[in-house]
């Protein structure tokens, strides 16, 4: 079917600005992805899946512009022992990165996987993204598969002693970056992946994660403070039997952020938890779009998303749990809540359940509310100032999401970052 003319024009205009990297063995996957983009067209504001978030700046053919943010705040995870992989405006920096050697894991740049004959990588690049295009289309992810110029392939075969930390620096006010990472966690292996930094003026990032039976992946991400940046990210995760995936995202500032998580539980007894906390002030738009598919028996999924919004900020949550036929004993939980600190802010939520098995427990809830006056008075009556009391109650609201981070050092780092934001903004 031919695309609507507006969409066709916008897609062609954007594609005209991009060049497909000459990346040998991923070439076929990239060509396929480009074909998907041409068939779907880039997202438009009339698309149902983009009803609450205008994709204009994410697809525009114009060069993006975002001022750099300067802060005295120490960098996140700065004191943590970790393996650093640094990208500046979407380009790998060997100089800034650590040596990519770590026991229990092999790390290669995507452009190097061809000459190294790494089969798993060739079999993963673009594959989970392609699977994730149905039943809902995700054209920006296909665009990323086709054109991402950099990224890493992480093969986890053991239990590396420290987290792998992907650091995204923003250096140019007009950077337009696409990164594509692939991660394969082998049976019984376990890894923690960290991501932080504003990345680029416009950032399109895709991660494909394949977790084999009994594998575990922890993911903690903090999205950067450069207020004018915009970002669209996708994480496609496939889970094998008894495997575990736990992901948490903190977002502070950013005029436009769309984070999609597409999770497929394909092995029995697998566990997937995704959580997010975001705090937005003013010209801030944050969209969490999650799609969890239960396609095996006795799996557990949790979605916990909390947003604090003020001065006209907008929060969006689109979360779906799809329980396929035969996925009995599914335990699915979904909660999305917003704390609106004034009357100008808004939270738009679309929780969905679609269930084709008869022995499952699935629940979802979504709420919007203000600070509880009674609790505020209680704290103030004990001598706590309005500002501190509001901060305490705001952090308390976010706690359910932050508590999803298992590692105490990491969760403390996230709480510190939130406290910093609150002290500046409330």
């Amino acid at each position: 079917m031919a695309l609507p003319e507006v969409k066709q024009t916008a897609t062609e205009a954007r594609l005209a600005t991009l060049t497909m990297p000459d990346a040998g063995c991923t070439r076929a996957a990239r060509e396929d992805a480009l074909a998907r983009v041409l068939e779907m067209g880039l997202p438009g504001r009339r698309d149902e899946y983009w009803k609450y978030t205008r994709p204009d700046t994410l697809i525009s053919a114009e060069q993006p512009h975002a001022a750099l943010f300067h802060s005295d705040e120490p960098l996140l995870f700065g004191n943590l022992d970790r393996l650093k992989i640094v990208f500046i405006d979407g380009v790998f920096s060997a100089e800034e990165s650590d040596d990519l050697e770590l026991e229990g894991v092999n790390i290669d740049r995507i452009e190097d996987i061809c000459c190294k004959d790494i089969h798993w990588a060739k079999e993963l690049y673009g594959v989970l993204e392609a699977r994730g295009q149905s039943p809902v289309q995700r054209p920006l992810a296909a665009l990323n598969t086709a054109f991402a110029a950099d990224g890493v392939a992480i093969h986890v075969t053991g239990k590396p002693a420290k987290p792998i930390s992907l650091i995204y620096r923003h250096a140019s006010e007009t950077s337009d970056a696409m990164l594509h990472h692939i991660i394969r966690v082998e049976s019984g292996a376990e890894v923690t992946i960290l991501e932080n930094g504003p990345a680029a003026s416009r950032f399109n990032k895709c991660i494909e994660i394949d977790i084999a039976d009994g594998g575990t992946l922890h993911h903690v991400r903090a999205q950067g403070r450069d207020h004018e940046r915009c970002a669209a990210t996708h994480m496609f995760t496939r889970l094998g039997q008894e495997s575990v995936y736990k992901s948490f995202t903190l977002t502070v500032n950013g005029v436009l952020t769309r984070n999609e998580q597409v999770i497929e539980l394909t092995g029995d007894d697998a566990i997937a938890h995704v959580a997010g906390a975001c705090v937005g002030d003013g010209d801030f738009h944050h969209d969490d779009t999650v799609f969890v598919t239960h396609d095996a028996v006795n799996c557990e999924s949790r979605q916990v998303f909390k947003k604090v919004l003020r001065n006209g900020a907008t929060g969006v949550f689109q979360g779906k749990i799809l329980v396929k036929e035969g996925a009995q004993k599914t335990d699915g939980y979904q909660i999305s809540q917003s704390l609106l600190l004034d009357d100008d802010s808004q939270f738009l939520a679309k929780p969905e359940l679609e269930i084709y098995a008869d022995d499952v427990a699935c629940s979802h809830g979504s709420t919007s509310g203000a600070i509880d006056d009674t609790a505020l008075f209680y704290l103030r009556s004990r001598g706590v100032s309005v500002k501190d009391a509001t901060n305490m109650l705001t952090l308390a609201f976010l706690a359910e999401a932050v508590d999803e981070i298992e590692d105490e050092v990491l969760s403390e780092a996230i709480v510190n970052r939130l406290e910093g934001w609150l002290s500046r903004h409330i």
Binding site: L379, S381, R382, V384, M392, L393, A396
Partner: protein, 251 residues
Amino acid sequence: MLEIKNLHVKLEEEEKQILKGVDLTVEAGKVHAIMGPNGSGKSTLSYVLSGRDGYEVTEGSATLEGEDLLEMEPEERAAAGIFLAFQYPVEIPGVGNMTFLRTAVNAQRKARGEDELSAADFLKEVRAKAKSLKIDADMLKRPVNVGFSGGEKKRNEILQMAMLEPKMCILDETDSGLDVDAMKLVAEGVNALRDEGRGFLVITHYQRLLDHIKPDVVHIMADGRIVKTGGPELALEVENNGYADILAEVN
């Protein structure tokens, strides 16, 4: 210590007058009790003194050691020395009891120009005071009042009072929802804080709390006014005959 003169209060949202000229003076070192039927304005008085939103003072004054309370924010009143033990202590999920207590203690110290308590000193003090109120370590770690029984909530109020060392303690129906043993424990906690520099205003429906916290003065409140004042024997009179006789006598 606490001086209330001709206090008139109405609800902010409606034209309903709740307090219609309350006169009351609580001296340092004394325990005053206020008794009265439902709807007489007892709880409103406690909220107005501690600065809760939703009430409008239309006439009169309330001062603590000569300072105008009504001009102050709730946290300023707390720093000045007012403490309200809530009838229904508020549950605050996500805020640890210990964090809350420490923030409150240090906020008040800071407001008074004193040094903040070190973590170690605070811990030592809170543990000792919690022990005497039979509050275990687990309760201190849990979120404020979440999942606490009625008795635990009231003991937690008294712990806060003990830690904050206020000049003027207002207890709003602290006996409600307590069994006899819990009430004794709470009363012991309160009695331990009785001090010649500290005043108490104990609001209650029933005389039984006053068996354990012996008042110096008892007031009867009805229809937004103090209608009768006497010694501890007045509480017994209420217990034996109810409010009807007293109200009939006043009217």
